[in-house]
């Protein structure tokens, strides 16, 4: 040790009322591993973030002070917290990360059920593709050194797929474990899903998907986001890889992999470039097992290859997309602040101009994946909304498309977080 000892006076009453002190101690242990004052300061920042993520506290005060005068150069780290309210009721509006769908949620949360930072939340959702949904989630942070959480969720949802014209009724039980590692966030999930696909007026090819099926699967998702801004990044990269293995029980019997990579960099003249690439495949383990339409990939639309209607790339039946088992997409976007007056009535700082080139494809056979690429170009306006999601108003021109694709030449509007 270089001579600085860090210790903390963890006295009863330092803000802990319902939360038991032995639950908090593991969070503080990384402070002991520091050797320099700089490391100690950095460790306290991580500690604050870790305690905030538990959602058990809403005020966290970490004070580093020296006993003066003291020849031993002792440092005292004081951690004072104020526990969050036991019961919280609220509303949120959120946008699905990987699509342009949004939802309005009403939730109630009960914290510190047994004094070990557990929480029980009940959420009711309604949105553009969620007709109604109810989720009950039990959450518990564990292994503070990994900043990990365990969640158990049971939910029922009625969803509507507007582009394909079917609805689903889902009953889901999910066990989830989140932890940090390799510079990113790992999410491991085990799902048991009972889903019924139904609807009224839809083409025969879509109606033939109707019925009940079950899926029991394990899933791993790794996400690392080092961008400076998640909506209009100018620097950094984001990587997301999802892998799913289904087949232990039930009807689903496949492996599904889906990846998304984006890299942003600054260019002269205030420009920034973002290159995004996506790809994915589904492989079934037996020739007789089918992939239901709800599991397939879709391509096209304001958040995907622009210049096409939502899910307008690939096989269609009666104007309704059927999805595919293999997909890829690449997008290059150049964007910058509005010219001349970036602060138009104060709103200009939320807007950016951009031009883009998108290409991609969606097929059911791997050999045909590169045979018919779709290409579109265009330009438009990006508007950031409350730093939560962004809107795009674009003029898109599809240059290459296949017979059967539903193209949308002209103005296109989209809301979401991750665009191609």
């Amino acid at each position: 040790s270089s001579g600085i000892n860090a210790e903390w006076p963890l006295r009863p009453g330092t803000g802990l009322k319902r939360v038991k002190s032995d639950v908090v101690v593991p969070f503080l242990k990384p402070l002991l591993a520091t050797n320099t004052f700089g490391e100690l300061v950095a460790a306290t920042k991580v500690l604050r973030r870790t305690l905030e993520e538990t959602d058990a506290f809403n005020e966290i005060v970490i004070d580093i002070s020296k006993h003066a005068p003291s020849p031993s150069k002792e440092v005292v780290v004081s951690v004072c917290v104020k526990e969050n309210r036991r019961i919280t009721v609220g509303m949120t509006v959120k946008n699905d990360v990987n699509s342009t769908d949004g939802s309005f949620d009403v939730y109630g949360k009960l914290r510190n059920l047994f004094g070990r930072m557990e929480s029980l939340s009940v959420k009711y959702s309604k949105g553009t593709n969620i007709l109604s949904g109810c989720h009950v989630t039990l959450h518990k942070p564990i292994f503070p050194q990994l900043r990990s959480h365990v969640l158990f969720t049971t939910s029922t949802e009625q969803t509507l797929n507007r582009s394909s014209g079917f609805s689903t009724s889902d009953y889901l039980a999910r066990l989830e474990y989140q932890f940090e590692g390799l510079g990113g966030l790992h999410v491991c999930q085990g799902d048991g899903l009972w889903q019924q696909i139904h609807g009224s007026k839809a083409p025969v090819a879509v109606r033939e998907e109707y019925g009940h099926h079950t899926k029991f699967c394990v899933r791993h998702e790794y996400t690392r986001d080092r961008r400076d801004d998640n909506l209009t990044p100018t620097r950094g990269s984001r990587v997301s890889v999802k892998s799913e293995l289904a087949g232990f029980l039930g009807d689903a019997n496949h492996v599904r992999v889906d990846g998304d990579v984006s890299k942003s960099t600054r260019l002269p003249l205030g420009l920034a470039a973002t290159l995004t690439a996506r790809a994915g495949f589904i492989h079934t383990f037996s020739e007789t097992s089918r992939v239901p339409i709800t599991e397939r990939f879709f391509c096209g639309g304001p958040g995907s290859v622009r210049g096409f209607f939502t899910d307008g790339v690939g096989d269609q039946a009666g104007g309704r997309p059927l999805g595919g088992l293999y997909h890829w997409g690449v997008g290059l976007s150049l964007h910058r602040h509005l010219p001349f007056s970036p602060y138009i009535w104060g709103l200009g700082k939320f807007m950016r101009l951009h031009g883009f080139v998108n290409t991609g494809s969606l097929e059911s056979q791997p050999g045909e994946l590169m045979a018919k690429p779709r290409v579109s170009v265009g330009s438009g306006l990006i508007i950031k909304v409350a730093d939560r999601f962004k809107m795009e108003i674009n003029y898109a021109l599809p240059l290459l498309f296949a017979p059967g694709d539903t193209i949308n030449r002209g103005f296109q509007f989209g809301i979401g977080i991750n665009f191609l």
Partner: protein
């Protein structure tokens, strides 16, 4: 224009796992299409009940665009396109034909549903294995429970079936059988329900009655009381034999049509 059922899809596997009710409807539909000399092929889909627009199955998928569910819808569909076996009947005979078709689709169908789903011997040994043939666990446990409850709800919604028992079912079966036999007894030979110029005139009523009776008589069930109740009417048995022998009606799927 010619209506060609280039791909007619029927519910459940006709090669042995078919439920009684599905076999009644599918035989009726096939006989009707044969009478109009319309080509079709048979395919089985485990989710045909959900493909159906009204929950009735089998379904006929015509020209990859139209879905017709059940015998009654098929009759209406073909009639709109000029295919109607009873067009030479008088208005009075047409009303009578619709009344007897309604007798089959309401009362005889209820009897078939009751004997398939609510008589435990038949349910456990025939209906349940056929219904769950393509289902994996846990759906193979959950869905038959809901389906059986749905059948019970449908039957009890019909006033006279409020308090269902086997004795009621047998009395109802004898009543339906005697009504159909009475209509057939109008002529010397029970060749068909209607005649034109002293010749048997095959109509939609003949198709649906043959379809149901053939399926009931030839489907092996542990509890065959319904078959016995209907079989008491010898005219019905003669009608079925006449349809098979003289007209080539077949209660079994033509092997060359199976995909």
């Amino acid at each position: 224009a010619v209506v060609s059922t280039q791909s007619g899809h029927y519910g459940r596997d006709p090669r042995g796992n078919e439920m009684l009710h599905s076999r009644c409807e599918s035989t009726s539909m096939r006989v009707l299409l044969d009478q109009h000399s319309l080509s079709y092929s048979i395919d089985f889909k485990p989710n045909v009940e959900y493909i159906s627009s009204n929950g009735r199955f089998p379904v006929a998928i015509i020209n990859e665009s139209d879905i017709v569910s059940g015998f009654s819808e098929l009759v209406v569909y073909l009639k709109k396109r000029g295919y109607f076996l009873g067009e030479s009947l008088s208005n009075e005979e047409l009303n009578e034909m619709e009344t007897y078709i309604s007798l089959v689709t309401n009362r005889l169908e209820s009897l078939v549903l009751y004997t398939s789903w609510l008589i435990m011997d038949n349910y456990n040994h025939v209906t349940l294995p056929a219904y769950t043939a393509d289902l994996t666990w846990p759906l193979s446990t959950i869905l038959p429970f809901y389906k059986r409850r749905q059948v019970l709800r449908v039957l009890t919604s019909k006033g006279e079936w409020n308090d269902i028992s086997e004795e009621m079912m047998l009395a109802e079966g004898r009543s339906v059988g005697s009504s159909l036999a009475f209509r057939l007894g109008r002529y010397d030979t029970p060749g068909s329900f209607f005649r034109t110029d002293n010749e048997d005139k095959v109509t939609e009523l003949d198709c649906i009655v043959f379809g149901y009776l053939n399926a009931i008589f030839f489907t092996k069930l542990p509890n065959y009381k319904l078959k016995r109740a209907l079989g008491q009417q010898s005219r019905l048995i003669e009608f079925c034999k006449h349809m098979e022998n003289a007209r080539g009606f077949s209660g079994r799927p033509n092997q060359r049509n199976l995909r």
